[in-house]
């Protein structure tokens, strides 16, 4: 309803102009990276670089994907995909099982377990860098997918989210399952999981982005370039010392590194927003 508050005319257009300006400023760094990924090194090292795309698009992306600097970027994309999927799926499975146990059973140590999970919120990787690295090294998991994924799949947030959701499910469903002689696992697989699918999907979007964008952990435990993930691998492409960086390839890699999570956000915007709001509760 157009009331007194919204008036057409000058202020309406100023509103649009302000927003468009905001969008342009926020887009600029990405636009520049894209342009840099389509021109030659000569265009970049003689500033100012062009602000419109050049004709080296295929050449730069081919060079990045096939050769890269330390390792082919195609490999790093694959590693990131494995890590992001592993973390997202691992967190969801582990949290569904835990939430099911604490909502639908009474067992000794239940409250202790609940508090243990809560405490993990206070222990981000950044706080326990060296000892966690030592544990992984002790297990011989450096430079492995297991090492990349396993330490990150505990999730207090996801467990609380599923717990919250299970508590809203009517008791009659569990009652009916019991009367029908269905065991707890049957109830879990046939009723609880299908009912949670929207929550699972929303959480998956958030966790995929979380896993894909990990930086510190892969930086610590992947010393072998062929195990690098793409997000942490970009920095490794810069030469040490005064040598000139291969900017077109680095920028092509940056674009490739942001593409999967950005596509996920845009394609699944509704689920993404829901997941974001849910996981902050």
């Amino acid at each position: 309803m157009a009331g007194m508050v919204e008036k057409r005319g000058l202020s309406h257009w100023l509103t649009h102009a302000g927003l468009i300006l905001g969008v342009l400023v926020i887009f600029f760094p990405i636009w520049l990276a894209f342009v840099a990924s389509t021109v030659s090194q000569q265009d970049i090292v003689r500033p100012p670089m062009p602000l419109l795309p050049g004709d080296q698009f295929f050449e730069n992306y081919r060079r990045a994907l096939v050769a890269g600097v330390n390792a082919p970027v195609a490999w790093m994309l694959f590693n990131s995909m494995v890590m992001a999927m592993g973390i997202a799926i691992g967190k969801i499975v582990i949290s569904l099982l835990s939430a099911f146990a604490i909502v639908y059973f009474r067992f000794p140590g239940r409250m202790l377990f609940f508090w243990l999970i809560f405490l993990t919120l206070m222990l981000p990787v950044e706080v326990r860098i060296v000892p966690t690295y030592e544990v992984i090294a002790g297990f011989g998991m450096l430079n492995s997918y297991t090492g990349l994924i396993l330490p990150l799949i505990a999730s207090a947030t996801a467990t609380f989210l599923f717990r919250q959701f299970f508590l809203t499910i009517p008791d009659e469903l569990a009652e009916a399952a019991r009367v029908d002689g269905a065991g707890p696992m049957r109830f879990f697989v046939d009723i609880l999981v299908p009912m949670s699918r929207t929550n699972i999907a929303a959480l998956f979007v958030i966790l995929f982005i979380y896993g894909w964008n990990q930086y510190l952990w892969p930086l610590l435990i992947t010393t072998d370039p062929s195990m690098n993930t793409i997000v942490m691998g970009i920095k490794q492409m810069f030469p040490s010392g005064d040598d000139l960086a291969d900017w077109p390839v680095i920028m092509a890699t940056s674009i490739l590194a942001m593409l999967p999570p950005v596509v996920v956000v845009i394609a699944m915007q509704k689920l993404f927003i829901r997941g974001l709001v849910d996981s902050e509760k």
């Binding site: 949290s95 835990s98 146990a101 222990l123 706080v127 060296v130 569990a174 510190l216 999570p261 950005v262």
Partner: protein, 293 residues
Amino acid sequence: MEKRVTFKGIWLPILLVAPQVAVTGVFFFFPAGQAIWQSLFIPDPFGLSMQWVGLGNFEYLLGNSFYRASFLTTAIFSVSVTVVSMAIALYLAVLADRLIKGSGTYRTLLIWPYAVAPAVAGVLWLFMFNTRIGVVTWYLGQLGYDWNHVLNEAEAMGLVVLASSWGRISYNFLFFLAGLQAIPRSVIEAAAIDGARFWTRFRTIVWPLLSPVTFFLLVVNIVYAFFETFGVIHTITGGGPQQATTILVYKVYADGFVGQDLGSSAAQSVILLVVVGILTVIQFKYIERKVHY
């Protein structure tokens, strides 16, 4: 809240929580315990034995001017990132909220930088402000300003703040816009009928009603600036120049991993643990209220 209907059994639920218990035990609690334990020792130069020093590492740290400087750096950095990203997001959200149609389109255009990793954002900003080839550096040079974040401490801080705030605008915008749209139109229209201009309406009605969202975002953004901006610092400045951008988390990494000073790094971890603890309690105290209302 508890379920009335539950299933019988003790071993099944224990089996169900076992994976989570194993992962948290091995990768969370054991390393955290190690950090606390190691913070009480100094390893000898060859790493062969450990010498008990009690709280010596903490005393040393708190007396160390670099460490105290890192606290101040972290405070300046976190507050700047929070203020910059929230102010821009609020400005854009207020504009988008004024539109009857089209706010959804702007939302789509503005939310996706959220998906860009802090480390990638760091590389993008480093490219724009590169001292030799950066476009922004070049144009600033044309205007007579000599940008050099490699040498200038204030410029280095400014650059990591901008790069860290950039992707965060999306997140704050989303929550501000939702908060604004939840304010009943009738209240604002009533004020408008009473003759209140836009700025008066914003100050007396919108801003107070928005305060729960603002407070929530304040806490969340501070946590973000503390712990999730490592990638930005590592890609752009590496903590320099002269430790001007060495935030606490970066220092734990630099001392423990690069400098191999295990006792000090462990003590820093313990101090950070206390900081996270406090932030988490604040977050939960507030969020509990939000859930119940």
